[in-house]
Symmetry: C2
Subunit: 513 residues, 2 copies
């Protein structure tokens, strides 16, 4: 096994308090106590003027790949040995460090998770971690770091893909992401809705082909050499005759870029090549798109792609499509045909999830194993919505007779709603709100959590981006359109079973007394 | 030299188009042409309701540390060999890959940069890269990725530090950052205004002590064990008597957390230890802060810290301080004394730069070397503000007789305003706007760019976070308070010299004709 050698990317890629808590548990003999933590999020990304009605899951396999390369190495332990208390004494004792040395949390943890690519909802357990207390605690920060961000980006990518009516989406965000976070962002984008990314290394790692065109600087360079934009385009077509996608806005899109592109495309066509298309990166994209299409069509290039970029997100794409739908016919163009040839290059707003730059995913202790069995744990919050759903649990997705998902039901671990006569769906917070569903109204009750790690044994070796995408498409197909609406989506219900609600109520009363 | 082995973190941590452009330049014999690219940003972070009036520079040494570990390895070249064109032919030719193999851009580039920690402004060159065209192009994506984000975070950290009146700021954002981007974020926070970070590995790498307290889960665990919150606090004080900082909001801050903390602090004091303080992580922080301080004071703990966390940013901190200033005396407390004991724990909103999640830093070709010498290059944009300032340039900071910075002046490379009789400051866009400054009104004209890399030779080996912080404090001290205002800051002027303005005008006219 090749372990991470850089201190800041291995087992010490964590918050200090995880280590001080681990030592405290060690000292009190609690470190090997079996516990359960749950990872879930509370709020769908709320992008300022609009909020998501669902999220797309991503990240668990990426996290596990990393965790499998992590153990407390000699270098890590040496670093911890140097740490001091406020008064200069050793912060970490030798016996604790001896215990920690050489260990990887990977070998001790059992994780049940919802598959990457699937639609997930607020408050339901997405990743459930069981194992010795110290090990569960030591992975909290890295799990949240590696999974929250990927859910955030996969969700944004899905919205962009939906706004673009399923057309090709290219992810370009490396230069605006947070350092190596760009790699996680590209991966999540590929799961959530991007067809390709410009990120060369990550594409290769994931078995994809990277995509790209050229920069303004190439045109500038040829201009400085006295060969002009046309010279730059000719050079590009010469070297990449089968991949000729030209950026047409360095000088003036309609007066220079598109006419020059058409000249080059005409030459390419004569030589038997099929030009790919043009990229528009500034100005009024809807207007330029219509005018460029008109010029391309008149020159006989009705099938070339038009790649749009420059601060795109789901609303901008929606707006561009709407505008083309209204205005194209005025210029003698078929709006639908034009919309179908668009490709969306999305960078900054995808990888930083414009308007909502972090998912509020948390990792909470929900159960502790005692001699008598698992005991639910709870944190009483001053905000009712923030009170944890306690105990060992399962998550089920309920489909109606039209095969649409209508409710995610959280139950106790021992419950199986598939064998119940009718389903009671309790509101997670409001005591008086409950609904019943008859079995005759239900086509399927599907368990969502599956075992992905069993004490160091990976249970899902077959993960691929392609598989995650298939799950995403299937799940999105099972959502009512209202839930997918870009603005003001219909609320999807996440409910508690009667037994879970009763336990939660009992625990809150117990603690509040 | 230890080179990066993971494909996605080495030389292929870049966008595809950099590689296709490099090959095109190679094919046309342009790859070794000497050129200059400039990195600058256009817009100060605009956090929705408020915009920054300055930025804090960060990232160049981090970028150079990475670049020094990067070359096109055998594995990188093999990956590139596999890449295909749209019709399945080899995308990269063997002669190009032979040329690329084993090379590191680091060895070919000369970089002049403004020092990390310094105040920087929009449109001025922050990092200027000179070298062979292909090498300059190949580092574009990684330079933007590694530096834009750090400037963004250092700037936010500086604003938070200013809002908190210089009190201790702790950076806690690892779990909400973008994967390993968390490390770059922690580093930038330390430069910009955070005193410490919770990030264990990064702290160690940077020679800092990581900071932290404990999580709610620790209290929950002791509750599940029947030992309650008090048991958890006692255990913590037992193991960390000199570092006893207690999180008091797991059950109820004023009815349980603070009283229990006081019991534990009283025991600690009896044993000769000085308790550090409490952390408030939910609820009305200003109110809870006043009430907690009152209880702590009455118990004789007037000097313990009160750490505030939970969605803090510069405006929330400002609001909390304002509210304490208004209300503390009503509860018999000295507001100033209370404000002085506050510590700010900032996570999500710092590392994701809440409200403005990416800096719009760009990397533009500004000059090309020909036989006749350097020739300025320009991209004509449809937006006047976006037109590049062309050519080889210098940046100077002008200080008035009160030793306050009043203007950053961009000149041609051969100009030296220090020997000019008077200084002409031209607006960068509006032709009619120019001002003059007499030498008698100027105390200092300071060049800002310095050589940091000379074809693989590092020129600033003495970089340290501490040195960057000193530069930051000095520069912030030289800004008029209006420029530092959190909301609606006074505009700081960045001007062009008459000669640079004339050149820009000439080039635009030339191209527009």
């Amino acid at each position: 096994m090749h372990y991470r050698k850089k201190l800041e990317e291995g087992a010490l890629f964590t918050d200090r308090y995880q280590l001080t808590m681990a030592q405290l548990y060690f000292r009190y003999g609690f470190h090997e106590k079996e516990v359960q933590f749950e990872h879930f999020f509370r709020e769908y990304p709320n992008y300022g003027s609009h909020q998501a009605g669902y999220c797309i899951n991503a990240g668990i396999n990426w996290f596990l790949d990393w965790l499998s390369q992590v153990k407390f190495t000699t270098a890590d332990i040496s670093a911890l040995k140097e740490q001091k208390s406020a008064r200069g004494k050793k912060l970490f004792a030798d016996d604790f460090l001896r215990w920690l040395k050489g260990k990887s949390p990977y070998d001790f943890l059992t994780i049940n998770a919802i598959s990457e690519g699937r639609v997930i909802h607020s408050f339901e357990p997405v990743n459930v971690v069981q194992g010795p207390l110290a090990m569960c605690q030591l992975v909290e920060s890295s799990l949240l770091n590696k999974i929250n961000y990927q859910i955030l980006v996969a969700t944004k990518a899905s919205r962009i893909k939906e706004a673009g009516r399923g057309n090709v989406v290219l992810e370009f965000g490396l230069r605006r992401a947070q350092d190596f976070g760009a790699n996680a962002g590209s991966r999540a984008a590929l799961i959530g809705g991007a067809d390709f990314t410009s990120n060369e290394g990550l594409s290769h790692k994931m078995g994809f082909s990277a995509k790209g065109t050229h920069a303004h600087s190439m045109v500038q360079l040829f201009m400085a050499e006295g060969k002009g934009e046309l010279g730059a385009f000719r050079a590009y077509a010469d070297i990449y005759p089968e991949d000729c996608l030209l950026l047409v806005d360095t000088i003036n899109t309609l007066e220079s870029g598109v006419p020059n592109a058409i000249k080059v495309f005409t030459d390419l066509k004569r030589k038997g090549h099929t030009p790919i298309g043009i990229r528009l990166d500034s100005g009024d994209l809807a207007y330029l798109c219509i005018q460029s299409a008109k010029m391309l069509n008149e020159a006989g290039f009705e099938n070339t792609s038009i790649v749009l970029s420059n601060q795109l997100d789901e609303l901008v794409i929606w707006q561009i499509i709407t505008q083309i739908g209204t205005e194209a016919s005025r210029y003698g163009l078929d709006a639908d045909r034009l919309i179908k040839r668009l490709v969306y290059g999305v960078g900054t707003n995808l990888v930083t999830s414009k308007g909502h730059s972090s998912l509020d995913g948390v990792y909470k202790l929900t159960a502790v194993r005692k001699k008598s069995g698992w005991v639910p744990s709870i944190k009483i919050s001053e905000t009712k919505e923030k009170i944890i759903n306690p105990g060992l649990k399962k998550v089920w997705r309920i489909y109606d007779m039209k095969n649409k998902a209508v409710d995610d039901l959280i139950t106790l671990g021992e419950e199986d709603p598939r064998v119940a006569k009718k389903i009671i769906l309790h509101h997670p917070v409001i005591a008086s709100q409950r609904r019943e569903m008859e079995k005759t109204d239900i086509s399927l009750i599907e368990p969502l959590l599956e075992n992905v790690l069993d004490k160091g044994k990976r249970k899902t070796p077959g993960f691929s981006i392609e598989k995650a995408r298939q799950l995403r498409e299937k799940d999105l197909g099972c959502l009512y359109p209202g839930v997918k609406r870009l603005i003001n989506p219909h609320v999807y219900h996440v409910s508690l079973s009667e037994k879970l609600w009763d336990m939660k109520k009992r625990l809150i009363n117990l603690k509040e007394e």
